[in-house]
């Protein structure tokens, strides 16, 4: 049961890695290359501006456009990696790779002080965030292995290890879950699993030649700016959809789950966040269109996969356009999804309970979450093939050197239960990210963002009657939007490591104004090679 797709961040970097080969390095793709690692901001920034002032600036986002300059950049060639080491010794052609191997490890420790809650797990419902102080952690280690099979074909294998302990067994929060690494069903004991195994075939259609730099899940190569890409296998849909070009690497960026993708994007995936299926992409210079069909789990938020891709599936389509505004790169995307899964509608669960109170949460005969509330409806009485739909938009814009803003929002129909991601039915996020070249720490990252999540009226009615879904259900509810902010600073030290401090505040946790607010403090250490 995983909540978060492991590391779309790697792919987040892919768009940024695209560079026009024929253009001088500093003016690739027709605009100045404003890599975060370049300390040329001195002209624009007074290097004496302190980190405090930058943070203040971030908090006053409206002034950022004029106050900051540059755009966050992907992993650069001056960063340490095993592949770069081989290339430096002339043992590996990193620009035209036949194979590569990268790795990372991350440890995240969170602490949640006690908070105010007039009730918890009322009447036997089970999905409250516990009001007592708690500690949570995740430890992950990942190997990214890539191989060129033939011309245009790449294969990737990603084994991963995770050990974790969530807050309150991962219950009681919507998109405000504090650590995107957490998986449903994870354990303190390390688990090794295969997160990805897929083949990607690229068919060039002409246009400019684009340099694709070597990195995790990406062989160093050249692509046509106009091309078709087909992917088949086992992957996270976030490897290809809703990739955020300057969200840096999630393992160095925002920690909250709400910033990984749309909190309301209930993409089909197993408990760890991965799926089987296929994706097709069509790139035409600044435009891209993506289509994907992937497998859902057999039961909501569980690990076993239902491979009947013609009966149960998650379909998504995304249109993307890259642009420049006054020389600053930006991107806009529209994403729509439609899932057909064996899931329960809230209205059906309520109707079944009202027609026969024996059909409550304690008498379920099928899959259920184990609620002990005998006076509550339960989705187990309503599961049948149903459709969930949603549409969302994403925009990011570099507003200066080393700084960018982004926003995303999605509206899902909210009639059916969460099947894979979060309980949120509608979400909106805004954030600002900057790198620290202005204070002579060009590899540091700082960010602040806010996330709003709502549930539909019928979802609130179901929770108010004591029902539970995959993550929330206090036994009662004073329905409200779940609001969270995430503020972090990630400092790079040495060639491999980065250390982050993070603060999150979640107001109305689990969409319940009667509980909270909750403060969460997090420390993260991350290494990559």
């Amino acid at each position: 049961m995983r909540l978060r797709p492991l590391i779309p961040a790697v792919v987040l970097c892919i768009n940024n890695r695209e560079r026009c080969a024929a253009i001088p390095r500093d003016y690739r793709c027709g605009v100045p290359n404003r890599g975060l690692g370049q300390p040329n901001l001195v002209r624009v920034f007074d290097i004496g501006r302190s980190i405090v002032r930058v943070l203040t600036g971030l908090l006053l986002a409206s002034s950022l456009a004029s106050a900051q300059n540059g755009a966050p950049a992907p992993r650069t060639s001056d960063q340490f990696s095993f592949m770069q080491l081989l290339a430096d010794k002339d043992l590996h052609d990193i620009e035209n790779e036949s194979w590569n191997a990268y790795g990372q490890f991350t440890y995240i420790s969170s602490w949640k002080p006690s908070f105010s809650a007039p009730y918890t797990n009322l009447n036997g419902s089970i999905n409250s965030l516990l009001p007592t102080a708690e500690r949570s952690f995740t430890g992950t280690a990942t190997l990214y292995l890539g191989l060129r099979l033939w011309n245009g074909a790449e294969a990737y294998l990603v084994p991963e290890l995770i050990s974790e302990h969530p807050l309150s067994q991962l219950r009681g929060l919507g998109g405000g879950i504090q650590n995107f690494e957490l998986q449903k069903g994870g354990t303190d004991a390390p688990q090794i699993y295969r997160s990805r195994l897929f083949v990607k075939q690229t068919i060039g259609l002409g246009g400019k030649s684009i340099v694709q730099e070597s990195g995790p899940l990406q062989l160093g190569t050249h692509y046509d700016s106009r091309r078709l890409v087909f992917v088949a296998g086992n992957f996270s849909i976030l490897d290809f959809f809703d990739t955020n070009a300057f969200d840096v690497d999630p393992r160095q960026g925002f920690l909250s789950l709400g910033f990984l993708t749309y909190a309301a994007y209930d993409f089909a995936s197993d408990a760890r966040g991965y799926s089987y299926g296929g994706v097709g992409e069509f790139y035409w210079d600044d435009w891209a269109v993506r289509l994907g069909r992937i497998t859902p789990p057999k039961d909501p938020n569980q690990l076993p996969i239902d491979f009947r891709l013609f009966k149960y599936y998650g379909d998504q389509m995304e249109v993307e356009h890259k642009h420049n505004i006054r020389g600053q790169e930006g991107m806009v995307r529209l994403l729509a999804y439609r899932n057909r899964e064996n899931m329960g509608r809230f209205s059906d669960a309520i109707a079944a309970f009202q027609a026969d109170p024996e059909k409550n949460a304690t008498t379920c005969t099928g899959f259920n979450y184990g609620s002990n509330n005998a006076d509550a409806p339960d989705l187990c009485w309503a599961r049948k093939p149903n459709v969930k739909k949603g549409i969302g938009a994403f925009a990011e814009q570099y507003i200066g050197h080393d700084i960018g803003v982004f926003t995303r929002a999605m509206y899902s129909d909210g009639q059916t239960e969460v099947y894979a991601y979060t309980s949120t039915d509608r979400s909106a996020t805004v954030g600002v990210l900057a790198k620290g070249s202005s204070w002579s720490r060009p590899k540091d990252v700082v960010g602040i963002g806010g996330n709003l999540g709502w549930i539909s009226n019928v979802h609130a009615q179901y929770l108010g009657m004591g029902g539970v879904d995959g993550f929330v259900g206090d036994g009662a509810i004073t329905a409200a939007a779940e609001k969270s902010i995430d503020l972090f600073y990630s400092a790079k030290f040495g060639k491999i490591y980065s250390l982050s401090g993070d603060y999150q505040r979640v107001v109305d946790p689990g969409f319940n104004a009667a509980r909270g607010p909750v403060n969460i403090f997090t420390v993260r250490i991350h290494g990559e090679f």
Partner: protein, 320 residues
């Protein structure tokens, strides 16, 4: 008297109850449930090493590497015989896996990793004597991302040159516990192997052999058909090479391999298999391909030594 009879009846009832209670632990123990273990004893050699289990020790050149994909199916890898020596229970009757591995070589050294994934592990549950065996039920749908006991290792060619009459080497590997014991894919304990390797080319004849130790902490004795702790590894393989055009060749011949626990040396749970292998390979260039096929049968059938087995492998390998 009526009162005495009544009391006597109560006393008898109490005594019977006490007797039953005194036997309760024995009754409770009567049905023990084995926890499962890593049933597979087809311990593959490193990616790029030619044979399925043996190692050709053809390590050389500058920086090089190998990638391998191996898939196999084993029939009845765990059949347990009851105390009467007649009743048999195929706790694991089917086992299919796919493994993906990669190796890096330099000069005479090789480092490698291998990630096996169980595709199917299933069998029949039942009771044999005091043991209640629960068969595994693993499939790609229920376990979509399981990696069972991945391993990493190093090998070194210590004596002889690639293609020479005699090559000697040594290898060590560490096996990481991953998966669930009840699925019969892991011991849930770290394991290690240390092997002495030999190989050589005599004209068109190829041979390889190994002796080693499998450090296996799990000892489930006296549960029948279960690991008895650390094991002695042995194996030998040989075949003839038939050269073809364009650097291609076919090497065909048997591999015989097995293992026995030190605690019950060549008795108890010893397993030995013979695998008839054939491989089509192109060697001698910077990028080489090898396609392997093996069909095997147990010579001494115990856990892990399947009644019969079919294995398929593809290797890409080469060096600068």
């Amino acid at each position: 008297m009526a009162s005495f009879e009544s009391n006597r009846s109560c006393v008898y009832t109490l005594l019977v109850g006490l007797v039953l209670l005194s036997f309760w632990p024995l009754l409770a123990d009567a049905q023990q449930q084995p926890s499962g273990f890593a049933v597979e004893r087809f311990y593959q050699s490193a990616p790029g090493s030619g044979w399925f289990v043996m190692d050709d020790l053809d390590i050389g050149g500058r920086l090089g590497g190998a990638l391998s994909l191996t898939s196999g199916y084993a029939r009845n890898p765990l059949v347990i015989t009851g105390p009467d020596s007649k009743q048999k229970l195929a706790v694991v009757s089917q086992e299919a896996f796919v493994g993906i591995g990669g190796a890096i070589t330099h000069d005479r050294f090789r480092g490698y990793i291998d990630f096996p994934t169980p595709l199917v592990v299933s069998g029949t549950s039942g009771t044999l004597g005091p043991y209640q065996f629960t068969a595994p039920s693993v499939s790609l749908g229920t376990n979509p991302d399981t990696v069972s006991d991945p391993r990493t290792g190093v090998d070194a060619r210590l004596f002889g040159e690639p293609g020479s009459l005699l090559r000697l080497g040594a290898g060590a590997q560490l096996i990481f516990p991953s998966g669930i014991r009840a699925d019969y894919v892991t011991d849930a304990r770290y394991r290690a192997m240390f092997r002495f390797l030999a190989a050589g080319d005599v004209g068109a004849f190829r041979y390889a052999g190994q002796l080693g130790v499998h450090v296996r902490p799990l000892n489930d004795a006296p549960v029948p058909g279960s690991p008895n702790g650390s094991e002695f590894l042995y194996g030998i393989g040989g075949g003839r090479r038939f050269a073809g055009p364009g650097g291609w060749a076919v090497v065909a011949g048997p591999e015989i391999f097995g293992e026995t626990a030190f605690r019950s040396f060549f008795s108890g749970e010893t397993g030995t298999e013979a695998l008839l292998t054939g491989r089509l390979e192109q060697t001698g260039t910077e990028r080489n391909l090898r396609i392997k096929l093996g069909i095997g049968h147990a010579l001494v059938q115990n856990f892990g030594a399947a009644q019969w087995r079919i294995v398929f492998g593809v290797e890409l390998f080469g060096h600068k």
